[in-house]
Structure formats: C-alpha cells, structure tokens
Assembly symmetry: C2
Homo-oligomer: 183 residues x 2
Amino acid sequence: MTEPAQPPSARREELLGLAYAHVLRHGLSGMSLRPLAEAIGSSPRVLIYLFGSKDGLVRALLGRARADELAVLPDVGHGPVAVGRIWDWLSAPEHRALLTLWVESYARSLVEPDGPWAGFAEATVRDWLAVLGGATGSLAVLRGALLDLLATGDVERTTAAVRAHVRTLTAAADDREADGSRP
Amino acid sequence: MTEPAQPPSARREELLGLAYAHVLRHGLSGMSLRPLAEAIGSSPRVLIYLFGSKDGLVRALLGRARADELAVLPDVGHGPVAVGRIWDWLSAPEHRALLTLWVESYARSLVEPDGPWAGFAEATVRDWLAVLGGATGSLAVLRGALLDLLATGDVERTTAAVRAHVRTLTAAADDREADGSRP
DNA sequence: GTATCACTGAAACACTCGTTTCAGTGGCGG
DNA sequence: CCGCCACTGAAACGAGTGTTTCAGTGATAC
C-alpha cells in the first residue's frame, strides 16, 4: 500500500522550497531521501508522507524548475530581440545552477523515458519553440551556446556567437523589408 | 586494498565491447555491475578484476565513446562544408544511441565534477571546436540541433535549421571574397 | 475534555550497490 | 608433472536505497 500524495499545504510548500534549493546545489538525478532530509531539517518519513513517494517529490521539483524557466517568457518580446534577451537571462551567473539542473533533467528524460522525468525534453523544446515562434535555428543556437557556457564558463565567446546569430537574423529581416518596399 | 586495473587483453577488449553495446542501449549513468555482467555473460567479479573498479570500467567506456565520435573528424574538411558533413553524421539514425550517451555523459560531468566523468564536457567542447576552427556559433547550432533531434526525433525541422546556418556561412564567405577581389 | 487533524521520530524491511575474500578453474611453457 | 598465469564462481561484507509500520506529537475545533 503506497502512501497518497498530499495536497499543497504550508509545510509542503516550505519543504519543497528547501528541497529545491538543495537540489540546485547538489543535482537532482543523484538525489536520495536521507541526505536530503537531513540537509533541510526533515526526515524521509515526512517527505514520503507529503509527496507520496520519491518520484512524487521529483515531479514536484521538476515542476518548480519548469515554472522558474517559464517565468521570463512573458516579457521577452518577439523576433531577434527576444533571442538576445533570452540569452541575457540564460547567461546570467545566478541562473547557472538552474540551467545545469535543466541539462541534467533533459539528459535523464532521454535515457529513461519512464518515471518522473518522462517527456521533460520534448516539453521544453515545445515550450521554447512556442516563445521563439518556431525558430528552430535560434533555439539551437541558444541551447548549444548554453551547453558550451555551462561546460567552459566562457561568457565572452558564447555571447559573441549568440550576438552574431542575432545580427544575421536582423539583417535578413531588413533584406525582406527592403525587397517588399522596393520591387 | 583495491584491485589494480588490468592491461589490455583479449578478454578485456571483448568484454569492453559487449559492455559498450549494452551501455548504448541502457544508458551509462544508471549502469550497475550485476545486471550488466549478467547481460553480457560475465560476473561482477571479473569486471572488477579486469577494469580495477566500476569507475575504471566507466572510464574505459567513455574512452571508447570518445574514440567513436572522433573517428569521423579526419575527413570532414573545413569551413561551412564541414558543418554540413558533421550534421549528416550526427543525424544518422544509427548514431542516435551514441549521441544520447554523449548527452548523458556531458550532463553528468557538469553535475558531478569528480569521478570518471570529470572534464568530459570541457574535453568535447575543445575537441569539436578544434575541428570547426574555433567557430563557436557552428558548434552551438550543431549541439543545439542535436539536442532537439534527440528529444523530438524531427529530422526534417532540425536539418533545415542546420542547412540554413550553413547557407548564411557560405553567403558571408562569398561576401568576403567579393570585397577582397573588387574594392 | 475530547476528538480530529497535519505532521513527525525511530526502527525495521527488503532490497541493491560496489567491493572483497577465498577457492578454484583450465591452459600453456618448462 | 609442475608451476605459473589469466580468469572465474560463490558467497559474504558493509553501506545505502525507497518505503512501511507503529507510535506518538501538538495544535485546533467542538
């Protein structure tokens, strides 16, 4: 008989926040209940009680991470400008941990299509493609540059690459406008 | 007292190949000795004897994966053509498993900087940047499109994005040539 | 005062993990 | 025949895993 997940409550939200902070520091896929519980001042018993199971906790944490990511999207605009703004957000040092967590979850969902990670990779591709208006190329540049940045920490080089992509986007847009107004 | 790793031998190479095939199917970061040994007709005892430890086996497997990747590089050429050729190789269905393994190892090395994964992410960025002549933008497009492809399986859309990038590269090269020959 | 409620501590269960110990194989060179 | 050598099987060790059982807290509601 497995314990049912508990609906949101004050204590649940509090522990979720603490667990989220811990997971940003130490990774999600290697997380285990006893060390986590001790670090955030709780116990495995309580985590299972509040989240139903470890998988329930992981799902809740992934939901929180996804919400954190999508929080920037509303005011990012459209077209080439949006790409630049998104990169500013991605390359900000304070988001490094969140984005490492993102890569971790992405990889895990590719390897292990079952379990709480299921569909994470497809979901984020869909999310961001929607924001970028279906611009697969821009998404690729952003994600690729992000991978590079997370591995090397080289903000200058990766930022230059994204900026160059944004320039070619705006140049192409200008060309289209010129063709349209002077045929 | 920990068992020393064994030098290459017939049996060692054979088991490494079998383990490599198994890991391509089932992932590397969740690998454990007993199931692996049973699947490839061996025993944990022998794996530890031949590779010194689980970490030693993981290192050997990562080395094999890296060699597999670098095998294409010699005859890929330079400039925009190289990007297209690399993408042909990356998007080939028979390399899907290898590249998923690559993403897995990349993510793991970001989260867990110690252990056998250490430095894997930096190393591959360096490897590929060398092939691409330092073109961070092209590397980003390739890696980003690859992530997209592995998650969605959409070869058409991702290939179109890479082709578009190659076109802007060749266009830029033509412009430079025109400027140089007719000033 | 008592019943109900969300929450918790301690301990155990039934695993799996990497690794070690000990005791062998079978083959090949001397 | 003997000793060496690469390799192997069975079992155990100690640690760590998610989860469960049972027995409580303390606060709040009636």
